[in-house]
């Protein structure tokens, strides 16, 4: 199945954003699911709380798209965990998505500071 871009519906846009965030988190190196949640929360100053019900489907989806890969490894306290890491394709995707994100946020920011009509 072809990747769904450009995203058109509201849901897909959110999905795409979550995917971007997960890829971004994995930029620091291999990490397990719980670690990804913690990382995103910490780095977003506790603003973004990723639900497990969204995270795990997202991970499966990214695996399927071959932008991340996985293997079994050991956690800090030596539990057997599943570690995810970016693939070359994933790194390329991340770069592309990030610049798109940049453009988008800049565009929206520009829109927001543009002269506003008088509000009644």
């Amino acid at each position: 199945m072809a990747p769904k871009h450009p995203p058109t519906s509201r849901i897909e846009l959110l999905q795409g954003t979550l995917d971007l965030i997960v890829l971004q988190a994995l930029r620091w190196g291999p990490c397990h699911g719980y670690g990804i949640v913690q990382l995103i929360r910490a780095q977003s100053n506790n603003v973004l709380q990723v639900e497990t019900g969204s995270l795990y489907p997202a991970l499966q989806r990214l695996l399927r798209q071959r932008v991340i890969a996985t293997e079994w490894g050991r956690s800090d306290n030596n539990r057997r965990v599943r570690l995810y890491h970016l693939t070359a394709k994933g790194r390329a995707r991340l770069t592309a998505e990030r610049s798109r994100w940049q453009q988008l946020t800049e565009a929206i920011a520009a829109l927001m500071v543009a002269p506003q009509p008088e509000e009644s």
Binding site: M1, H32, G33, T52, G53, Y56, Q60, R64, N77, R82
Partner: protein
């Protein structure tokens, strides 16, 4: 099965891993909380709460696999859904499945015939190297005149071929078993089987390098003869049998199903092969040395690496050198040439065209069937429009819905295909029996993997084809509009109505093509049945016998015509005395009208006195030997001179009776009576023409009359004898009665092949009848389907316009007007379809002009009739919904 098992295991493993992963997540969260100072019990509860429903998370994660990860699983889902939908609409499903089953069944049956006959007509290794060598005398317009022994050896030396084997078909009398029996026999060069690349199932067969100039007295028999006449005796090898009084030792039994390559059914069923060097007794020295044709052509295997075109070029060069070397044998005027024909083409011969034609016709029926099912699906799509719109509104991706619909179509067509194949398997033996004997390899028609693959692919293609229509519909679905529509949920858009109308127009057009083609074939056939035969087959029965032709001359009881004449007179006298026999005549094999056993029995070499236009070369004409009663018995009219009488025997000069065609061709301005010809050898005595008979359709019902020369059986010997009896008989009983009389004269003679002459006449049309009946059946099927299509479209239109019709009626419209309006819709479809169809029909009918007899390819009557029939049936299909339209109750229609 293993594929599915693999998927199951993969899925299980992934589920286990996911559960494990989620468990690890929980444990880590719990550990972190404990590290932050929560009590273990609180930590566990909080971690679990934060995580959410583990089962649900697992499920939504797994949904991602279903999305695309495991295509097979999604396909399974679609399939289950499709089957469920079909089961919810059993009437629709049944109609669709039956339509497709008919189409696929008929196509598959036809394909199995084509596969056996046209695609694999030669079940031998490397069939592409096999050719038949045909000698032509282009200068005198004679084709395939046969070959001589020196020519054979010349070609063998040419290095163009690895093997060349003359093959000479004959009948023989097999005696020494419980009763004398006629066997189909082939006299072949010893390397014949090596050439074909076939080995006996028992025994070593012939030594391919056997140098014996004459017969080496070895015989190979067919599996059928081995089982039928020798009880499948495992110790058959070495057994000595009598063939035409000569002794042969059996050295091999060919495998079951082995057939000699030939275009003639009877030759394909050869039962005995004997090896001959074509250079020794019983042929005399002069015959062996002569370069005039001796045997009926040869088959050969082209040397590896040569194409047939290469080989033909080399043969041409070789023939030119031979013509220079033997100018007396090959005068420039006769223009001797040697032509290589792919053995495949030689065997398939005339049946290719009708079979290809029939395959095309059956394809049209399948197409009409597809159009019909597409229409059904579209009609259903309109009622399911709401379902589709709701599913899309709820987030069902259009691509997924389209895939779903396509799966439904393909499931429908594959089910139809399975039913179709089941039909073919059940009806196979009955169908094969319908196929005329002229089609080679009829008994080898099997429903093998190739045929099944064809059926499967055809089903898939059909499903994809008719599935496209509703799929396109989903694409163009306007969700908002559909959801806004109140009431019946009927959602047919303009686009969709147009598609449905186009489909029906297509159906009508294709049906008309088939219908008019069938009409032309029926008219041709009918015309052929009405052709004045020139002889009367009524109450005539033919029984056959055969005099032996031993190689050992002293064994020959009938070495001369006079000795055979004694036998013939005896038989005539005895049979005439049988009860119920009004008249009896004997003739050679070619004397049976419209029966073509083997060419070499019918071709007579004729040299006309004083005619130098052909040089030394004789004319090759059809000839037969008959007793004096023959013309009278068959009701053939004498138009000049006299018929034969009892005095035309060995003591008196030879005489002949010829037909009018021969007069027209060779004595157009002269009186043919009294002219003299030489028959057979150049050294023969002169034969005087004493009578002329009216032309009769003895060669072919369809073709023009050919020259035919008759001689007296008392003067010219015939070995293959046909006994013609006039009277009312049951064929089995009369054969037995004749057998008793013939064997009372000579107990070693076989009597066989009893047949009504009317059946012989009708069998000569077998291929035509077969094609005509199939095309007619196809046409009627297509007609029925087209009517169904019209019915469907109009009926749908009526139900969609119930409201409008009710309104019209309420406002005082005449019911007749409503009726007319509906009928007009149907008529428009029929007429548009008919116009398109007529164009197609004209193209097809001109392409098949060669098979039409006595009817023009653009016969107005046929086309008018076909169009009228089609229009009538289409209007009938539209009448039923029209009736419903005028019965609309305005009150009900408006309040609903």
């Amino acid at each position: 099965m293993s594929m599915l098992g693999w998927f199951m295991r993969l899925r299980e493993r992934r589920t286990r891993e996911l559960a494990d992963e989620l468990q690890a997540h929980l444990e880590m969260a719990e550990a972190d909380r404990i590290a932050r100072g929560e009590s273990p019990r609180d930590a566990a509860a909080n971690a679990r709460r934060e995580f959410g429903n583990v089962g649900l998370v697992q499920e939504v994660a797994r949904d991602e696999w279903n999305g695309a990860g495991l295509a097979a699983e999604r396909l399974g889902q679609d399939l289950r859904f499709a089957v469920r939908m079909l089961r919810r609409a059993p009437g629709f499903a049944a109609l669709g499945i039956v339509t497709i089953a008919l189409g696929i069944g008929a196509s598959t049956a036809m394909f199995s015939v084509v596969q056996a006959t046209l695609l694999h007509p030669l079940p031998y290794p490397h069939p592409e190297q096999l050719v038949r060598i045909e000698d032509d005398l282009a200068g005198i317009g004679a084709r395939d005149v046969g070959m001589s022994t020196p020519e054979w050896h010349d070609l063998e030396r040419s290095n163009i071929f690895t093997h060349i084997a003359p093959a000479w078909f004959d009948n023989n009398n097999l005696t020494g078993l419980s009763h004398p029996q006629r066997v189909a026999l082939q006299i072949v060069a010893p390397d014949y089987f090596v050439l074909l690349g076939m080995k006996p199932q028992l025994g070593a067969g012939f030594d391919p390098a056997d140098p014996t100039p004459g017969f080496n007295t070895q015989a190979i028999i067919s599996d059928a003869l081995w089982k039928g006449s020798f009880g499948a005796d495992p110790r058959i090898l070495g057994r000595v049998v009598q063939l035409d009084s000569d002794s042969y030792r059996i050295v091999g039994v060919m495998p079951r199903g082995f057939q000699t390559p030939s275009r003639v059914g009877e030759e394909r069923r050869t039962e005995v092969w004997v090896a001959f060097g074509f250079a020794g007794a019983p042929l005399n020295e002069a015959t062996v040395m002569s370069r005039s044709p001796l045997f009926q052509g040869a088959i050969a295997r082209i040397a590896p690496g040569l194409t047939i075109a290469d080989a033909q070029r080399r043969v041409d060069a070789f023939v030119r050198s031979l013509r220079r070397e033997y100018p007396a044998d090959y005068p420039p005027r006769s223009d001797w040439r040697v032509r290589l024909v792919l053995l495949k083409d030689a065997v398939v011969g005339d049946v290719r065209q009708p079979l290809v034609f029939l395959l095309g016709a059956v394809g049209l029926v399948l197409l009409v069937g597809c159009a019909n099912v597409a229409n059904l699906l579209l009609a259903r799509a309109t009622t399911r429009g709401r379902e589709m719109a709701v599913r899309q509104a709820l987030g069902g991706a259009p691509s997924r819905l389209m895939r779903q619909l396509l799966t439904e179509s393909v499931v429908l067509s594959v089910l139809g295909g399975i039913v179709g194949i089941a039909l073919v398997l059940v009806a196979k033996n009955t169908l094969v029996r319908l196929i005329p004997d002229t089609v080679p390899r009829v008994n080898d028609i099997t429903i093998d993997w190739g045929v099944l693959a064809f059926a499967f692919l055809a089903s898939l293609a059909a499903g994809a084809l008719f599935g496209l229509a509703p799929v396109m519909h989903v694409r163009g679905l306007d969700v908002t509009r559909v959801l806004k529509l109140e009431g019946r949920g009927s959602t047919s858009s303009r686009d969709q109505q147009r598609t449905r109308r186009l489909l029906v127009i297509g159906e009508v057009a294709l049906s008309l093509v088939l219908l008019s083609t069938a009409g032309l074939l029926v008219r041709s056939f009918w015309g052929l049945l009405q052709v004045p035969l020139g002889f009367d087959p009524h109450n005539v029965t033919v029984v056959r016998t055969r005099l032996p032709y031993p190689n050992e001359v002293q064994e020959d009881l009938y070495p001369t015509a006079a000795q055979a004449a004694t036998f013939v007179r005896d038989v005539v006298r005895r049979i005439r005395a049988l009860p119920g026999v009004d008249d009896v005549a004997l003739g050679s094999g070619a004397a049976v009208p419209l029966d073509h056993p083997y060419q070499d029995q019918t071709v007579t070499r004729v040299r006309i006195e004083g005619d130098v236009s052909h040089g030394d070369q004789p004319l090759l004409l059809t000839g037969s030997q008959v007793t004096p009663e023959y013309f009278g018995l068959l009701g053939m009219r004498l138009v000049g001179g006299r018929s034969f009488d009892d005095y035309d025997n060995g003591d008196n000069p030879s005489v002949a009776v010829i037909n009018e065609s021969m007069v027209r061709r060779y004595w157009p301005h002269d009186d043919a009576l009294g002219k003299r010809v030489k028959l057979g050898r150049a050294a023969a005595d002169w034969t005087t023409i004493v009578g002329i008979v009216a032309d009769a359709r003895t060669d072919s019902l369809a073709g023009v009359s050919e020259p035919h020369i008759y001689t007296s059986l008392y003067q010219q010997e015939g070995k293959h004898l046909a006994i013609l009896l006039k009277g009312r008989f049951e064929t089995g009983a009369i054969e037995q009665a004749v057998r008793e009389q013939v064997q009372a004269v000579n107990s070693a003679l076989p009597v066989f092949g009893a047949e009504r002459l009317s059946d012989v006449v009708s069998d000569s049309l077998a291929m035509r009848r077969f094609s005509m009946m199939l095309i007619a059946a196809f046409a009627l099927t297509a007609l029925f389907l087209a009517a169904l299509g019209v019915y469907g479209v109009i009926s749908c239109m009526v139900s969609e316009r119930t409201h409008e019709i009710g309104l019209r009626l309420a406002l005082g419209a005449d019911r007749q007007d409503v009726m007319r309006m509906v009928m007009r819709q149907g008529a428009r479809l029929a007429v548009t379809g008919a116009v398109v169809g007529l164009i197609g029909a004209a193209i097809v009918s001109h392409a098949m002009a060669s098979v039409l007899v006595g009817v023009s390819p653009s016969d107005p009557a046929t086309f008018t009739l076909a169009t009228a029939l089609l229009t009538f049936v289409a209007l009938a299909g539209c009448y039923v919904p029209a009736r419903r339209a005028i019965r609309v109750d305005p009150m009900v229609a408006l309040s609903s």
